[in-house]
């Protein structure tokens, strides 16, 4: 990156079942992240958010009392926040703004606002060509990707379940995880849980919780004045492949292949250089597809790659160290919380689940129905 941009503040809002409003959770996260950065609202001139309203940046800015001169409300589902961060890096490097807050909040569990059928927009093609067949959105698309994966590579549901088992093991080390007190999972627990959309069981699917978060981004120069452990954005990439479920170009090679390569090239790093990996785990299959597309293992190898404790605490690959969307928190869109955890790992703040000596992190998020894909590479300063 030309000049350098860093994350100087991160925070979660309250998580789980909060009985708070979306905007209230946003305000809470923004306040906490600014406090973490040693900044105040008056320092902020850029805002990126979505999911709060039809005009999300306007609504959130008004609610917290900001008048930003740079905004982004790219709607790319769970990957929006990695895209926001990339766009913010460019904007800060270009001098368009100085301090950007990226925020998200959802009360979907308290408000019982989630529907198995997703959100219908009557003018869109999927309402003529997909909705008549009753897919669950987006579970059934990920289920069809999983079915194809198992078929093509001879993998098993047992191997897939390991993703959820490992996520739970990490969550047991994270006091903020929704499943912190739930005890360990084993493969049989996953396989004997209710089938939702085959081959995905309910425990292959992410949680439905409230939650939110915010991060504060500024130039590396300013970041160094604010704190001695800024987290530098080393690279990023995005790739949009499709919108509806039947239009995904290749169910087994998501856009992570493009976004990941771009982010790593920017950073001048390879996957072997990465200490911590946070991958959007809306569904267990998403982790396997992403690991392969990002290059952590070869095509068709992820199912065996994750076995033997490799992605559990203490294993060879520190993956989804918060407990992930599967066992920590999944407030509709999870991408922001992936960034929060990666930054905390690089600052060494993660107590029991801390990855020793973590210097580099790769964050990869997926939005929609394998629709949008974004990767960010982060590192400690110097």
């Amino acid at each position: 990156m030309a000049d350098g941009v860093a994350v100087v503040g991160v925070a979660e809002s309250d998580l789980g079942i909060t009985d708070q409003t979306i905007l209230g959770l946003q305000a809470q996260a923004i306040s906490r992240a600014l406090a973490d950065a040693g900044l105040s609202l008056s320092d902020v001139d850029g805002l990126a958010t979505n999911g709060a309203a039809r005009f999300s940046t306007a609504q959130v800015a008004e609610y917290v009392g900001l008048r930003p001169t740079w905004t982004d409300s790219t709607a790319a589902g769970g990957s929006s926040y990695e895209i926001f961060l990339g766009h913010a890096v460019d904007a800060i490097n270009a001098g368009r703004c100085k301090v950007v807050v990226i925020s998200y909040g959802s009360n979907q569990r308290s408000a019982r606002s989630r529907s198995l059928a997703g959100v219908a927009e009557a003018h869109l093609p999927d309402q003529q060509f997909e909705a008549p067949y009753g897919p669950l959105y987006p579970i059934s698309l990920y289920a069809m990707a999983a079915q194809r994966y198992l078929h093509e590579y001879g993998a098993t549901s047992q191997q897939l379940a390991e993703v959820a088992v490992a996520a739970r093991a990490w969550a047991l080390l994270n006091p903020k995880a929704f499943r912190y007190d739930a005890g360990p999972l084993d493969v049989d627990d996953v396989l004997s849980s209710t089938m939702v959309s085959s081959p995905l069981h309910v425990l292959d699917c992410c949680l439905v919780t409230d939650g939110g978060g915010a991060i504060v981004v500024t130039s590396l120069e300013r970041a160094r004045e604010l704190r001695d452990d800024p987290v530098v954005v080393r690279g990023w990439g995005e790739c949009t492949t499709s919108s509806s479920m039947a239009q995904v170009p290749d169910l087994l090679v998501p856009g992570a292949a493009v976004s990941g390569q771009r982010a790593l090239t920017d950073a001048g790093l390879s996957v072997d250089d990465i200490d911590v990996v946070e991958i959007y785990d809306s569904f267990s299959i998403n982790v396997l597809l992403s690991l392969e597309a990002l290059g952590f293992c070869g095509r068709g190898q992820a199912a065996s790659f994750v076995q033997g404790g490799r992605i559990r605490p203490g294993g060879g690959l520190a993956l989804n160290t918060s407990g992930g969307g599967l066992s920590y928190c999944h407030p509709g869109m999870f991408g922001l919380l992936l960034l929060v955890e990666a930054v905390r790992q690089l600052r060494g703040e993660c107590a029991e689940r801390q990855v020793p000596g973590a210097c580099t992190a790769l964050v990869h998020a997926t939005g929609g129905a394998l629709s949008t894909h974004a990767t960010v590479v982060l590192g400690v300063d110097r």
């Binding site: 059928a117 003018h123 909705a131 990707a145 078929h151 959309s197 039947a246």
Partner: protein, 146 residues
């Protein structure tokens, strides 16, 4: 799928891009859109060719046959129009394009990737017909390949 007088399937109205496609279903014809310039076949119908950008597109009759590319058995119906369990599948037509559909006329446990299927029609109250697929007679896929 149940044949009970359940609530009708959710189906948005045809629009100027898709009307020809839906009109064909009234004659029990499954068509795909083909680009007059480059010959690319695509589904769903739209105002542009996704390969060459051309805007002259025609509907071409298909054989109504294809193969299950992947599928899922849905165990929780999203609304009362559906009775779980039922199969949602992506079927690749012989002509190339992939469409989402249901596999009907066999047990959900008998659906396999690679199953050869052909189109059947489910009437919609507005006169259109919804294409679903059923295993082709005597060719129940490759159940031994699992």
């Amino acid at each position: 799928m149940s044949n009970d007088p359940a609530p009708e399937r959710p189906l948005a109205p045809a629009d100027c891009d898709t009307r020809g496609w839906w009109d064909a279903t009234r004659r029990h014809e499954l068509v795909v859109q083909r680009c007059d310039s480059c010959g690319h076949a695509q589904h769903y119908p739209r105002a542009i060719c996704t390969t060459c950008g051309g805007s002259e597109l025609s509907f071409q009759l298909t054989q109504g046959r294809g193969e299950v590319e992947t599928f899922t058995v849905v165990h929780r119906a999203p609304n009362p129009a559906f009775t779980a369990p039922y199969t949602v599948a992506l079927v690749r037509l012989l002509e190339g394009p992939v469409l989402m559909t249901n596999i009907v006329g066999c047990a959900v446990d008998d659906v396999r990737i690679g199953l050869k299927v052909s189109v059947q029609w489910e009437p919609h109250p507005d006169g259109r017909n919804i294409p679903v697929f059923t295993p082709e007679g005597g060719q129940h896929g490759f159940p031994a390949d699992r």
